[in-house]
Symmetry: C2
Subunit: 426 residues, 2 copies
Amino acid sequence: MTASRFSRRGLLGAGLAAAGAGVGAVAGVAGATAATGVDPFAAAANADESIDLSQQVPFYATAARQPQGGIRTTPQRHCVFMVFDLTASTATELQVLLARWSAAIAQLQAGRTIGSVEPAHGEGVGADTGEALDLGPASLTVTVGLGPGVFDERFGLAAKRPAHLAAIPTLPSDALEDGLTGGDLSLQACADDPQVAYHAVRDLARMARGTATVRWTVIGFGRASAGPSQSTPRNLMGFKDGTRNVTSDEEYERFVWLDSDAGWMAGGTYQVVRKIRMNLETWDADVVSDQQRVFGRTKVEGAPLSGGSEHTTPDFHAAAHGADADGATAIDPRSHIALAAHEANGGVKILRRGYNYTDGLNQYGQLDAGLLFAAYMTDPDHFTRLQRKLGASDRLNEYVSHIGSGVFAVPPAPRKGSYIGEQLFR
Amino acid sequence: MTASRFSRRGLLGAGLAAAGAGVGAVAGVAGATAATGVDPFAAAANADESIDLSQQVPFYATAARQPQGGIRTTPQRHCVFMVFDLTASTATELQVLLARWSAAIAQLQAGRTIGSVEPAHGEGVGADTGEALDLGPASLTVTVGLGPGVFDERFGLAAKRPAHLAAIPTLPSDALEDGLTGGDLSLQACADDPQVAYHAVRDLARMARGTATVRWTVIGFGRASAGPSQSTPRNLMGFKDGTRNVTSDEEYERFVWLDSDAGWMAGGTYQVVRKIRMNLETWDADVVSDQQRVFGRTKVEGAPLSGGSEHTTPDFHAAAHGADADGATAIDPRSHIALAAHEANGGVKILRRGYNYTDGLNQYGQLDAGLLFAAYMTDPDHFTRLQRKLGASDRLNEYVSHIGSGVFAVPPAPRKGSYIGEQLFR
C-alpha cells in the first residue's frame, strides 16, 4: 500500500472517529482532507472568468479561401457532433440540402431561428422547434463535412473527390462499434450554450428528412481555452489536453488549410473524428506517478517530465533522475507525448479540437465517458500514421478504446449568396 | 396540408430553384426563410448575458433550519443527478459516508479539490481526479437526499424515518425502466460548468466505494433563470417551463420547507425526481396550434391561451373565440396547465427545478431526449396526486413517457463542524 492510499484510509479513520465522537471530530474530516493536499489556489485560478453569450461568429466568407468556423474558432464550451447517411439519389437533392443548411446555419449563427416558431394562428408545423429562442448566438458555429460517400457512384461527383478523402484504414487500437463509424455528411455544432448547439443540430437534422438520415452522434462538453492567459483544458483523466497544439498562422497554413493545389477545396481542410472511450474506473485506481508516466507530463502543472513548466519544450533525451532511473529517459519513449510529438512524426502536426463526453453509466454500472476527438489536417493520412504508432505502443492504450470513427472533407466557407460545397455542382 | 407546411415546401422549392439557377437564387433560400417568420429580435433578447464562474454557494448553515443549496439556489446551467444503493450493513458506515461527503462537498463548493490530485512524488492514488482544477466554483451545489431504504431494517434507523418518505406508488403514466428507479441516496450536483458538476459526482461516487454503488444517473442541461428580468427557460419541446413556479418566501415556507413539526428534518424538504422522455420526433411533426392546446399556452410568448402575456394569471373559464369555438374554453381543460394548476389541486404547489437531458439517439435513430424533472415539496404525496391526474388525462401524455423515478428526504444543511444527516445518529 502506498503512502497516499494510506492517507485516504486515514481520512476514513477520521470519519470513523467522528462517528463515535460526534460533531467536534467531524471537523477533523475536513481537517484531514486539507492535510492530504488541497490546492489552496485552485479556487482563485480563473476567478474573473465569465462567458459572454451575445457573441456571434460570422458564417459567410468575406475573402477567398476562407475556412468555415468551428476550426480555428476559439473552442466553445459545448459541442454536438452528428453524422448522416444520404438517402437521396440525385446530386440535386444533395445540392438543395447543402443550400438549405447553409442558409439555416447563417441564421442560427446570428442567433436567429431558422424560420417561424409559431406560424400565423399556429396553423402549421413550426419551421423552428423554438427551444433556443431568447438564448442569443452563444458563439455558435456549425461546421459541415462531406464524407467519402458523397463522391461514390450515386451522385456523379467522383471527379470532384478531394484528393486525400478516403476511409480511415483499420488501426491497431480500433474497437469500433456498429453505428459509430463512417457517414456521408457531418455537422459539428459548437456553442457556449448547450441548448444552442443541440437546437442547431436538431433542426438541421429535421431539414434533412427525406434526403439524409441520422447515423451517429456524440455530445461533448469542455472548457474554452480563450488565449494565452487561460489554462489548457483538461480531459476526464485530469490531464491538460492540447498543450502543443497548432497555434500560429504559419502552422495553420502548413498543417491545416488546403492551398490552391486543392482546387475547389482550397481554404478547406479534412476532419477526422474519433469517439474514444476512457476506462475511467481503471484510470482512477492507478497511482499518479504511473498516470504521469503514461502521458509524459505532470498532472497538475502539465510540465513535461524532462522538467520546466507546461509550455517548456519536452526533452525526449533527458535522463531520468533518482535511484531506479537506470539509464532511462525522464519521458518514457512509450508515453503519449513522446509518441505523438511532431519531432517523432516527420515534423507533422494536426489541429486537435476535442471535447469530453459522458454517456452516463455502462452495463456494469461504471462511468461511461471519454473524449470526442476531432482533428483537422491537410491530409487524413497524418492522423492515420500517428494513430498507427500510438495504437501499437502508446502506454495510454490500456485506458482507452477507439469506439467511433469518421473522416470528412470540410469545404471552405461560402460567400454571401452562395452555400457550402457550391463548387461541387458547377 | 396546412399553410405552414406549404411554406416549408416553398422553402424547399426555393432551394430547388437555386440548384438550377446557381448562386444568385440561393440568396432566395435565405430570403424565403426570413419570409416564413424569423423573429427579428431573437438575437438581441439576452445580448448582455454572461456567466460568472467565480461565484460560490456556501455549504454550511449559519442559522437553524437552513436548507441545503441546490433547491432555492438560482438554477445553474448544468446538473448531474446520481442515485446510489447502500451496500453497507451498519449505520456507522452510512454515518462515515455522510460525514466524508459533507466535508468533500464543502471543499468542492469552494472551488477546491477534495484532496491531493498529485500526491508527493506521485506515489499514491490521487484523492481527487483533477479534471476540475483551475475551473473555479462555478456556483456548484451538491444536494444530498436519503431514500426510503435508509430507514429500512438494515441500519436501525426506522424510528427516524421522515414522516412522508415512502416509495412513489404506481401511476397511470408510468413507463418505468429497470435501473432508472429507486435508490438509497441521491446526489444532485448543479453548476454553471458541466465539468465542475460531473467532477463532483464522479469523485463523490469514488469516495462511496465499499459503502454504496451507483444505481442510475441523468445528466442535464438548461438555462439559468436568474431573476425577473430573465426569461423562463424552455424545455426541448420549445415551450417555457416554470412560469408559475414557487417564488416567494411565503410560498417556500408553505410548500417546500419542512417546519418544526418535522423534527430532525425541519428546514429540509422532499425531492421527487422523474426522468421524462419526450417523443420529440412526433412532437416536431405536430402543428403548433395543437402544441399550444396541449400546454394551454402560446409557444413564443408563453402566454395562457385565455389571453395576456406570460405572467398573466390563466383564466380557465374564459371562452374560446372563433368560428369553431362552440362553447369551449380557451384553455383546454385537459391541457397541461389546466390540470397542473394549483387552483385545480387544492391550492398546492411544488417547486420544479428541471433540466433538459439528451442521451443521443435511440435504437430507431431518433433523438433520445427529455426532461430531468426534479421537484421539492413538503410531502411527496403532492406530486403523486398531481401526477395521478396528469397521467390519466393530460394531453401531453401522448408525447412523454415517465421512464425513471425516485423519492428522497433532503435534510437541512449542516452547521460547520457537522455533516448532512448528523441528527440521524444522535
